[in-house]
Structures are given as C-alpha cells and as structure tokens.
C-alpha cells in the first residue's frame, strides 16, 4: 500500500505546527530588573551612512553600562537589554520592527530614527503609545511634530538650524560679517531640499544677503547646466546640499565653472577635502571635527580608543559626527534621567527629568522646552590646499 508518503506529509504538517507553537511561545519570556531599549536605524544599505554610526554608539554604551554591573534606580539594580534590528532604510520594514518592539517586547525607550521617511511611517502608529514610550531620534521631520497633540513621546536628539542657539544662524552671521552679498542655493527637488531652502532663505534675507535658488532632481550626476546658470549670476558663495553623494559632484563641477566658495549646512567635509586643490573656501557645520577633538578632548580620545577595541576596526572619522544624534551620549543621559526621576517605567517623569538636565559627554547636551536638543558644535573652514580652520561653538 502506498500510505508511506501520506505519513511523511502528516509528519511534516505536525512539525510545521510544532514550530509555529514554539515560535509563538518564545515571545513571552520576560526577565527581571531589565530595562529594554530599542534602536531603529538603517545599519546596512545606502542609507546606512546616517544610521550605522548611531547604532554602533548605542551598542557600545549599553555594553559599557552593563559591564560595570548596571545602574541603580530607586534602590533596585537594572541592566539594559538592547533590541537593534536593521531596517535598511525601508519604512515598511521599520514599521514591522517597531510593532514587534512595542507589542511583543514591551520596549519603552527607542533611539532613532534618523531618516525622515522612516519617522513618517512609525510616528502615527506610535501615537497610541503616547505617554508610555519615548522615541529619541534625529529625523528632520520630527522638528515639526514636536509639541503637537499626542506627540509627547518625541524627543529630537539633534539640534536645529535656526534659533539663537542654532548653528545655521551662526553660520549665516559669519557670512554676513565677511561682507557676503549674494548666495546661490542648489538643493534637491524633494521634501528635504525644500525644507532647507525654507529654513535658510529668511535667515539670509534678514541680513540683507540676496538669495538665488535652483533645484535639481535627486540622482542627478551632471550639474553643468544648472551650475552654468548660477555662475552667470556671480554669487559670493554656493550653498549646495544636502547629501554627500550630490556634494562630491556639485563641488567638483562648480570649481570647473569658477565657483570656489561653498557654504555647507548639511553634509560632511569630505567633498571639500577631496577637491581641496580647486576650492578657495569650504565652510561647513560639523557636529564635531573628530580629527582635532581627539587631541583636545580626553573623552573623545577615550571613545575612539574604546571603539577600536570594541569593533576591532579603524575609526571612521568621517562617519563619527553622526554620533551627535541618538548615539553613545544619549544612552548615558537616559540612564541618568531614570535615576533622577526615580523610575524606569514612569515615562512622563523620565522625560521631565531629561528636559531638566545637562549632560557632559562627548557633547554638552540639553533639551529645550519642546524636547529638541541643544548641543555644542564645530564650524570647519577648509582653504585651498586642505588647511582646515576649526571654530568650536558652545551655545548658551
């Protein structure tokens, strides 16, 4: 009789059922005296430029805190448990991961996201957890959500361009002091680029600097036509943006049409260094110029040393400024806030504590009333030949 393959099939079905049951049960184990934190960043893929360093910093901080035995809150000892899935910059994937963190793992503190499209995907879902969780991320889109109803769970971990402590206004002041009269802005024709134009144009106009604006399609490689148009108007500075991918090509091609002064509010100093032979001035905001900070700040030197030991690789100086957002310092600050609030589960209390503190780590961090960070930063100017002048700014 030919029943043996029926038996195999039945056994297979039984196995499948058992596996499902096992998977189902696995999610219910809990541990005592553990504070669960999540990390929501793009660790691989093209967007990893923004997410890898922050997630690496969080992992290092958790490791250090747990290695020292944990921390005490209200007389009880706690350790941290980190959930750090890789969303690869994909909002759909991030949403599935956030659901898992909040529904199954009952995480209450999540670091990230840096990417605005990921933020737009997870924020509406997270509103139902308002008052029970904290989302501490650096996404630009978060800025406009702060202070809105049902958005108390938001904390923006990277500072904003405008305002008296804003890096943008300080950089525009610098230009005005140099007697700059005309600035050409060249931005991506998407939400990010338009946001930058909207933020900076009023600041320039306030200081009587004329602004001409051109947009380009993201993924453009050849800027000759639009740069020729801008060069004809003879601006003093070119303000291109906002990703390094575009900056490399824009800076190079701009030097070929005679534009050699650059104002960078979003982007790294890489394009400036690479084209140093052809530029006259590359003025950039960087959260921290690590090459120099390593020599002058002991905490930075220690961080770099710890990074090399922990990850067994050389230190990525160009990526390191990303640690200004949802990274190493912010984990320690959160733990301190929990100690000050005397609770690990009372989220509104922890948030109130966060907003009332100053943290002195790699950066000096504090939050304003809406929950947006105010941090110290560097302004780097690269001259022809590669010499860099660094100015360190501490906001009041």
């Amino acid at each position: 009789m030919t029943t043996w393959h029926h038996d195999i099939a039945r056994a297979a079905l039984r196995c499948a059922g058992a596996t499902c049951l096992a998977l189902g049960l696995a999610g219910t184990a809990t541990a005592q005296n553990v504070v669960k934190i999540g990390d929501l960043e793009a660790q691989t893929g093209p967007a990893s430029v923004f997410g890898l360093m922050p997630s690496q910093g969080v992992r290092m901080a958790v490791n250090e805190i747990n290695k020292d035995g944990g921390f005490d809150v209200a007389g009880k000892r706690y350790t941290l448990q980190l959930f750090s899935p890789d969303n690869q910059g994909n909002p759909q994937q991030a949403l599935v991961q956030v659901k898992k963190m909040l529904e199954e793992e009952k995480v209450q503190y999540i670091f990230g996201p840096y990417l605005s499209n990921v933020f737009n995907a997870v924020a509406p879902y997270m509103q139902q957890y308002n008052g029970k969780v904290l989302l501490m991320g650096g996404a630009t889109a978060m800025h406009w959500a702060l202070g809105k109803p049902n958005m108390d769970f938001l904390i923006k971990t990277i500072p904003w361009d405008t305002g008296t402590s804003g890096y943008g206004s300080m950089m525009v002041d610098l230009l005005a002091k140099r007697g700059v009269k005309k600035v050409a802005i060249l931005m991506q024709n998407d939400a990010g680029g338009k946001a930058v134009v909207d933020i900076y144009t009023p600041m320039f106009k306030e200081r009587n600097i004329e602004v001409i604006t051109e947009f380009f399609e993201p993924n453009t490689k050849d800027f000759t036509s639009v740069l020729a148009k801008l060069a004809a108007a003879k601006p003093d500075y070119l303000f291109p943006g906002y990703t390094d991918t575009a900056l490399y090509d824009i800076v190079r091609q701009a030097t070929e049409v005679g534009l050699t002064h650059f104002f960078i509010a979003r982007g790294s100093i890489g394009p400036g260094m690479k084209n140093a032979a052809m530029i006259d001035s590359y003025l950039a905001y960087v959260p921290k110029y690590f090459e120099q900070a390593e020599k002058t700040q002991p905490k930075v030197a220690k961080f770099i040393g710890d990074y090399k030991t922990f990850y067994k690789t050389s230190f990525p100086y160009d990526q390191a400024p990303q640690c200004a957002t949802s990274c190493y310092d912010h984990v320690f600050m959160l733990v301190d806030a929990m100690k000050k609030a005397g609770s690990v589960t009372d989220v509104p209390k922890v948030k109130a504590a966060l907003l009332s503190m100053r943290h002195q780590g790699l950066w000096n961090i504090r939050y304003d009333a809406t929950g947006e960070a105010i941090e110290d930063f560097d302004i780097v100017e690269i001259h022809r030949g590669g010499k860099a002048d660094v100015t360190h700014i501490e906001p009041k």
């Binding site: 691989t44 893929g45 093209p46 990893s48 430029v49 024709n189 947009f215 380009f216 399609e217 993924n219 453009t220 490689k221 050849d222 000759t224 036509s225 639009v226 020729a228 148009k229 390094d244 991918t245 490399y248 090509d249 190079r252 091609q253 070929e256 049409v257 394009p271 690479k274 084209n275 032979a277 052809m278």
Partner: protein, 286 residues
C-alpha cells in the same frame, strides 16, 4: 542664452557617448547571442570601481588603471558567460531575468567589497577648455574622444575584418555561417565578453568624471537600451548616434521643460519609436 544652449549641446554629445558605448554593447550582445544583457550596467559599475580603486587606493597611473579595469571586467564577463549566459542563448526572457538577477549579485558584491558609501576619484586631468565662451572640462572631452574612437574602431572592425564579417553573417543566418566554418560558440562568447568590455571602459572613464556609487549603472543600461532601440537594434554605428541624440535631447529638454521629468523624455521617445517604427531610426537587421 545661445551660449547656454551651445554648452548644453556639447555636454549632451559628451554624455551621449557614454550612453552610446552601453548601447553598442547592448546591440552587439543582442545581435550575436540573442539576449539583452541588462547587467551591462552592473559591469559598467564594476569597471568604474576598479578604475577608482586602482587609481586612488593602489596608486597606479590612470591609463594603466583603465586597461586593467577593462581586463578585469572582461574576466568577470567570461565567468558570467560560462556559468550563466551560455545556457540562455537566444532565450530572451530567461536571459533578461538571469541578467537582472546578476545585477543584484554584482551590486551587492561591489557594496560588500568597497562599502555603499559613494566614492570620488581625485582629479586626473583638472582644468577646463574654453571654446568660445563655453566651458568644457578637459577630462570630459578626453573621455568622449576615447569612447568615440573605440566605437568607431568597433564599427570598422565589424565591417572590414574577417571576424566582423563573420559576426554579420552569423547574425543574418546562423546555420549558413556555421556551415561556412564560423566558430559560432567562440563568436557568441567573444561578442558577449567584448560588449562587457565596452561597458567596463565606459565605467572606467565615468569614474574620472563623476562620483561613483553602486547603483548608477542601472540608469545607464536603461538609457543604453533606449538609445539602441531608437537607432535600431543591430546597428553599432546607429547605437552611437542614438546615444548622442538621446544625450542632446535630455540636455535641451532640461533647459525648457521641468528637469524633474528628464528621464521620462527618453521613455516617451522610446514608446513612440516602438509604436511607429519598431525597426528604429536606422532600421536594424533584426
């Protein structure tokens, strides 16, 4: 305004030679092996990364780097041909899908070797040439001349040498060609690898002009296909002209129409040509 248009036309011609070399590769592959190799964009990316790596990281002289990059890309082409495309001769759908799968494999491999961060080569030939008020970067002009020369040599080889005529004969009538003693298997592999080499050369030169990332090849293979179809698949000389026409159309279009839809202009032209004159402007062989 005239200066702007003139400058844009020249730029369009230069960019068009890049499209043209990919188009030539597409057309050669289709004519001799019967498939469209979407992965030519990935081979172009490989050529670009090799050329950047050899020039910036290893420190070779740029001309040497170009030659080595092309050879390395062709070697990868030999491997791909032996392992994969040998089994999809004249099977258009399978060849297309396998080449699409190969794109993912190659892009991932490149990202794993050199990270996904965009890279930029240092200035190989800095400086510009002023042509009556229009600025042309020296390296761009040189790259265009090299590509033009290579495509014209290919065209000459196809029409004047024995190998070329064998290729034509095979494209017209495979059976007859085989009977006349043409080594068809060698011809097919050779055509495939040569096309890959063309794409690799385009990529190697591309790296000296723009920053490179793992995904730029995809845009170029699409434009290459558009140019090849526009001119008529089967015509290598036509592929060059098609590429240049496409480059110029995009450049002029961007001045007068919203730049957002720049890529769409080529697509619209493509649909129109396929609908009105499927054989292409120059009416191909197939």
């Amino acid at each position: 305004m005239t200066q702007l248009i003139l400058g844009q036309l020249i730029n369009g011609v230069i960019v068009g030679t890049l499209y043209g070399i990919v188009a030539a590769g597409i057309t050669l592959t289709f004519g001799i092996t019967g498939i469209v190799n979407f992965a030519l964009g990935a081979f172009m990316t490989l050529g670009a990364y090799m050329s950047w790596y050899l020039t910036d990281r290893v420190g070779l002289a740029f001309p040497a780097a170009i030659v080595l990059s092309v050879l390395a890309t062709m070697a990868a082409g030999v491997v791909a041909d032996e392992a994969l495309f040998r089994h999809t001769r004249n099977n258009l759908i399978n060849g297309l899908l396998v080449s699409i799968g190969l794109i993912s494999v190659m892009q991932a491999g490149i990202a794993m070797t050199w990270t996904a961060t965009p890279q930029e080569m240092h200035f190989v030939l800095p400086g510009v040439v002023q042509v009556g008020g229009v600025v042309v970067p020296k390296m761009k002009g040189l790259a265009a001349l090299i590509l033009l020369a290579v495509i014209l040599c290919t065209y000459a080889a196809l029409t004047r040498t024995w190998v070329g005529r064998a290729a034509f004969a095979y494209a017209q009538n495979p059976e007859a060609a085989r009977l006349m003693g043409v080594r068809t298997r060698l011809l097919q592999s050779g055509a495939f690898v040569y096309s890959v080499g063309l794409a690799g050369l385009g990529g190697a030169l591309y790296a000296s002009l723009y920053s490179i990332d793992t995904g730029f090849g995809y845009t170029y293979v699409l434009k290459g296909i558009e140019a090849a179809i526009l001119a008529g698949i089967g015509s290598v000389g036509g592929a060059l002209v098609g590429g240049i026409l496409l480059g110029m159309a995009e450049a002029i279009g961007s001045i007068f129409l919203p730049a957002a839809y720049k890529d769409a202009y080529g697509l619209v032209a493509l649909v129109l040509i396929l609908v009105l004159k499927p054989a292409g402007i120059f009416g191909g062989h197939k």
